[in-house]
Assembly symmetry: C2
Homo-oligomer: 343 residues x 2
């Protein structure tokens, strides 16, 4: 357990380092308004803090830098108790236009978030497994091709074009669509592949032998694909952070961000509410010098998405956590309204 004085000094060190990115020395600390001890005294305290692992030196005679454990303590004991559920009306301006699309909204939110913080924001769109088919439609484009359009009860639209097998006539196609609609309406996306294989495919065969093949394609195109949309805002923001001076870091970071699956995986968490991953606590080696703050939002009861901010470990935790907390609440609220309307 830390004494009041130790905690105070730890706090000062972290705050200063977050701002300056430079190791903090005893003299600098003693000059702060909130500090009334001499540099020598500070040094003693710092030695203690270092022994306990909360701060460390970059070399034998350098100032101190917060360690991962230090940040952890700071976040858990200093920041967390002061965060209150809040609502900063971040989205209010975005929703001014009542016709705005949900996808657009999320996209915009990501941009705003990154602008506000100067970090990189990542938003995972809501999972769609539990949404249900509202309408499935096939629009013929020519004799050879058509577009299949799927609309869910959440207003989400998926579409794919495909070629029409030769031995199927326009009237057959129409019948097929009717059957599909009848059978699939109200089925959740999660159950869709199963329903199709067990119930629908056999029916299809009545109309056309080769349709099975086409249908398999459609099925895979629609439903076996990663259905999670990823929105990223302000990747270039991180380039302005001093820890990004090493070109190799930039390389590996961008290479990581290019791999969507990896990013999605990084954000997915069963956990509720705010989660803070500092440095090595992150799953991926590429961001072991970063901190990732994630917050989940909910759509209805089950489906949820995640919003996150990625920045250097030397991150403005208070600001970021407050912001994410508010935004996730606001998104949950917005989605609740949306969902209620649909139900």
């Amino acid at each position: 357990m830390l004494t009041d004085r130790q905690l105070l000094i730890l706090q000062v060190i972290i705050d200063d380092f977050i701002e300056s990115a430079h190791p903090v020395g005893s003299r600098a600390i003693s000059k702060k308004d909130e500090i009334s001890y001499s540099a020598a005294t500070i040094r003693n305290v710092m030695a203690d803090l270092e022994e306990m692992g909360y701060i460390e030196k970059t070399h034998s005679s350098s100032g101190r830098v917060p360690s991962q454990k230090g940040y952890r303590y700071y976040v858990d004991h200093v920041i967390a108790p002061t965060i209150k559920e809040g609502n900063l009306s971040i989205m209010k301006d975005l929703i001014r236009d009542e016709f705005i699309d949900f996808e657009k909204l999320v996209q915009k939110s990501a941009e705003v978030l990154s602008d506000l913080t100067n970090y990189t924001s990542i938003i995972l769109g809501p999972e769609l497994f539990e949404t249900k088919v509202k309408q499935l439609q096939i629009v013929p484009i020519s004799d050879y091709s058509a577009v299949a359009i799927l609309v869910t009860d959440s207003g989400h639209v998926e579409h794919r074009s495909f070629t029409i097998p030769e031995d199927i006539s326009p009237s057959d196609l129409e019948k097929l669509v009717n059957i599909l609609n009848e059978r699939l309406k109200g089925v959740s996306l999660a159950r869709l592949p199963q329903v199709i294989t067990t119930e629908v495919v056999s029916l299809m065969k009545v109309y056309v032998r080769d349709f099975e093949k086409s249908f398999n394609y459609l099925q895979s195109a629609f439903f076996q694909e990663q259905p999670v949309k990823l929105y990223i805002g302000g990747i270039t923001n991180l380039l302005t952070q001093p820890e990004f001076n090493d070109i190799n870091k930039v390389r590996s970071f961008y290479q990581m961000m290019e791999n969507e699956d990896q990013v999605v995986n990084l954000l997915k968490t069963p956990q509720h509410g705010i989660r803070v991953s500092i440095g090595n606590e992150n799953k991926l080696d590429e961001i072991k010098d970063f901190s990732l703050i994630t917050a989940s939002y909910q759509l209805g009861n089950e489906q949820k998405g995640t919003i996150a901010l990625l920045g250097p470990t030397r991150m403005e935790y208070r600001k970021v956590i407050t912001l994410l907390n508010s935004l996730s609440n606001e998104m949950t609220d917005a989605l609740y309204l949306w969902y209620k309307n649909n139900g």
Copy 2:
């Protein structure tokens, strides 16, 4: 005009520099198999080439580096005459799956192109102004919201969700959709806004007073937006190029690429066929150290898109130009088939 010997040496210098990124010295040149002169002789030739502006020194006693004028000459007089219309079957593997989507195809092409070259590829989707409305549909999601879906005769799908004005009933909505379909079918996207305002809006008013407002939104959402899709592949590739060692270059480059409008603008060209922009010839300052090779492809007669590769001025022009040339032919062919099917 350059003598044979001068041209030979210019060529050797450029080829060597393209490979190594280091200034080329007279001794290194004289050791090449294709060169039978001594270093001293080479030096005389190099002095001439420098005087003519085709090569330059980085400092008074360095080897020579091709100048922009040098690259230009090389591309115009060495590469261009040897390029023959070709078809490398780049897309063949991609189209193996006959059900593939056009958008997917373009996306994949961008990836392949960047993998093949280690530069950044940029593809502008085909302009849709000349495609015609195939079907416009409104799917009600709840009492308060609906999704509007527009399908064009090229198989392109656009969709937006919107809220339904309170004083409109489901049956009204159905009537509206019928009217819209009837009036708008076959209208090109370019003419759509005009047709809507002159013919349709007045009709709308019969059904509901406030619908004008909603409709304006839909119209703007669909048709006043940048309708060009941009596909970018392998931005990180450039990070491995030695000219990207300066972190500030990376910054400004990424910031430029983040601005889609700017990139689209950069690629748009009335010109047909292959275009090579070297260094300062580029419109944007941010890429004055780069070369941009663009090739256009056509859809039917009018609409066209652009594929491009962005790399350092020290670029493998021969390879890149051959590749782009082939791919643009293949894309035109593929689109021709597609389009023919639709007509």
